[in-house]
């Protein structure tokens, strides 16, 4: 629901990096978005398209990499990847799992033209 404000934070990073490297254009951005981050990729793309107008990233390609839920089990030491909201260890069924992935909101890579 707060995709637009998140995109504003993405642009802070883009502008900082473009300035740092004296780049005129940003051509590609890779974002890692955890499936549990509360961020909807489709809405993020729409927000990005609204925000980019008149910026050095106007023609940039936005790539969103979805990160599925990763669980670590303190009982058996196993790790589990989940696509759904089942927070249990695949190996031993324990529900005392620790969530180690799936909440990411990360600017991973930026491609610049200098």
């Amino acid at each position: 629901m707060h995709e637009l404000s998140l995109v504003a934070s993405v642009f802070e990073v883009l502008e900082e990096k473009a300035r740092e490297h004296g780049a005129a254009r940003v051509t590609r951005i890779v974002l890692k978005v955890g499936v549990m981050s509360g961020i909807v990729p489709d809405l993020l793309e729409s927000a990005f398209d609204i925000y980019k107008k008149g910026t050095p990233a106007e023609s940039a390609r936005l790539e969103i990499v979805a990160v599925s839920v990763g669980l670590r089990c303190p009982d058996c030491g196993g790790t589990t990847a989940r696509e759904d909201a089942d927070f249990s260890c695949a190996a031993c069924g324990s529900r005392r799992v620790e969530i180690v992935a799936g909440r990411e909101l990360v600017v991973e890579t930026i491609e610049l033209e200098t």
């Binding site: 629901m1 707060h2 404000s5 998140l6 934070s9 993405v10 990073v13 990096k17 490297h21 780049a23 051509t27 590609r28 549990m36 981050s37 509360g38 909201a85 927070f87 529900r95 005392r96 969530i99 909440r103 990411e104 909101l105 990360v106 600017v107 991973e108 890579t109 930026i110 491609e111 610049l112 033209e113 200098t114």
Partner: protein, 223 residues
């Protein structure tokens, strides 16, 4: 013209996480238990805080930060109970962020026991934002239906306690408190569950006692 690929790896929530860590540190140093309340609009967060204010009167000191999109209404209700309250109006934003809480923190009196932060009514976005609280309560009122935990797993997963509210309406609704609690516990084992009617005062003592215990733990850890 050359193309350069930069590996950035910048966490977009890092600013919030840092602000939250600073708040948590300050509250712990001051011996104040921070409690973040999450729920849908109208599930009874403010009414629960009013009931806690009555319960703690002359025994424990509390303060409240109210988060809403518009109006001072909630803060006024809390002040009417003799409890200091600050209203943050987000002007449209769907959740509170730690930075907003940090701005108010300096005005919060030093000699209080509990700082309650009533988040914007929304069972989705507030779950992703740490406000530096020690405990997070998620409220679910009986009119909302007992099928909500699995529909909004993040809120329940991130909470320390579930407060089932408006139990006085149970005779009129198909809400099954055991089913709601079981579903929430399947998402978050160990979640503490309370059932209250803030209007009647049922169950408020149990919740208040649990908060006092948590305060005791916070202060003994600090000592």
């Amino acid at each position: 013209m050359t193309t350069k690929t930069l590996t950035v790896v910048r966490d977009l929530l890092a600013t919030n996480k840092q602000a939250a860590a600073a708040i948590r540190e300050e509250l712990r140093t001051r011996g104040i238990l921070g409690v973040n309340l999450l729920s849908s609009p109208g599930s009874g967060k403010t009414t629960l805080l009013e009931a806690l204010a009555d319960r703690f009167r002359d025994r424990r000191r509390m303060a409240v930060i109210e988060g809403d999109i518009e109006t001072e209404r909630d803060a006024e209700r809390i002040r009417a109970k003799g409890v200091p309250a600050w209203q943050i109006t987000t002007g449209g934003a769907c959740h509170l962020e730690a930075r907003m809480v940090g701005k108010v923190l300096g005005q919060v009196p030093a000699e209080i026991d509990f700082l309650f932060i009533e988040n914007v009514g929304n069972l989705v976005c507030p779950a992703s934002y740490d406000l530096g609280e020690d405990l997070r309560l998620v409220l679910l009122s009986s009119p909302e239906g007992d099928d909500k935990p699995a529909k909004y797993p993040q809120a329940f997963l991130s909470a320390d306690a579930l407060v089932l509210t408006k139990t006085d309406l149970l005779p009129y609704l198909p809400f099954d408190p055991d089913r709601a609690a079981a579903e929430a516990l399947s998402i978050k084992p160990g979640l503490k569950v309370f059932a209250v009617s803030a209007l009647r005062g049922d169950g408020v003592d149990g919740l208040a006692a649990w908060l006092v215990e948590a305060l005791g733990r916070l202060r003994s850890d600090r000592a």
